[in-house]
Subunit: 170 residues, 2 copies
DNA sequence: CGCCTAACGTTAGTGCTCCGAACGTTCGTT
DNA sequence: AACGAACGTTCGGAGCACTAACGTTAGGCG
């Protein structure tokens, strides 16, 4: 059982995902909410497009998440007078409270997730993961990928039921 | 931007997921296939239920994955004469070749994923992740969770569009 | 000014992974 | 013989990431 790192990653991530998901579902939220509220709280109001860029959330998913936050009263969507294309997203007082609540919840989950690790190990883990993220973010954003797309379908179609997704490289 | 470990995990996992997904889609496969073929190759033939337990793949997803592998000729499904409920899943020669191919593909992806890390750092990362997995696997299997389920809905329903999933603790 | 491009917000739909519920079949045990 | 358990299967749903397409608005340029 020589497990590949990517397997370890996706597996642990699945656990993390489950823990976070359950923890958030218990208060009627999900991961996107905290990400968005945190960004709004720390980096200020923004248009949806900006928010998407800041949080890495896809624009099409942003709509739904913001709808939820808006109907919850955690966020206000108001048209930008300076640019009528834009919606300005502002965090409300309730939203700030909510952000704190979710952050606490998330912290609990961290504790649960990292339980078997000592403090310095946790730091080490975060450091390593951070390095990976940094690297792939650089590569991902820099490369417009003119050729990677071509490689995608080179050997495709070995199995009937499965087709090449055409999911972009970024 | 003090990023939480779970965020780092899910983010890096997302990258890993994307890399693996694309890498496998290029040859018309997906993650399940390698997991299954590896298990069959190293631990031998098994019934579907056993396979599911071995690989951690949900039985309902197993069916589809095995269908794909079967139509690809990588795996044979034959009824167990000793127990007519059971299907015995055997890996074919093509399946072994396929397993090697996918493993290579996976290895490439590892290289890409872990590019910024030195060898000893990669080991450290694997070690830490492994510890987390071990821990949660133990906890997850031992706990039948009589009370956790109850907590799940305690504060639910803050937001209309989102409901408590009731997704099991394991 | 008119045209065209680019950005913006939105909707709809796909894919993968993980999960729960239900059904019909078969096996063991009692 | 009857019952509970395991097995394989199908259906559906959640979460996250992503593509495609559309209508709207802003700006640059001839």
């Amino acid at each position: 059982m020589d497990h590949l790192p990517s397997w370890l990653l996706t597996q642990t991530a699945a656990h993390a995902h489950r823990l976070v998901g359950d923890g958030f579902a218990a208060v009627g939220a999900r991961g996107y909410h905290l990400r968005l509220l945190r960004s709004l709280a720390t980096e200020g109001a923004a248009s949806q497009a900006d928010l998407g860029r800041r949080t890495g959330i896809h624009l099409s998913d942003l709509v739904g998440a913001l709808n939820e936050l808006e109907t919850g009263g955690f966020v206000a969507r108001s048209p930008d007078p300076a640019d009528r294309r834009r919606n300005v997203i502002t965090i409300t007082d309730d939203g700030l409270t909510r952000a704190v609540q979710l952050a606490e919840r998330a912290a609990q989950v961290q504790e649960e997730l990292l339980a078997p690790l000592a403090a310095d190990e946790r730091e080490e883990l975060s450091r390593l993961l951070w390095r990976l993220l940094e690297h792939h973010r650089r590569v991902g954003s820099v490369t417009p990928d003119p050729e990677a797309a071509g490689k995608m379908s080179e050997v495709a179609g070995s199995i009937p039921g499965v087709r090449s997704t055409g999911r972009g490289t970024r």
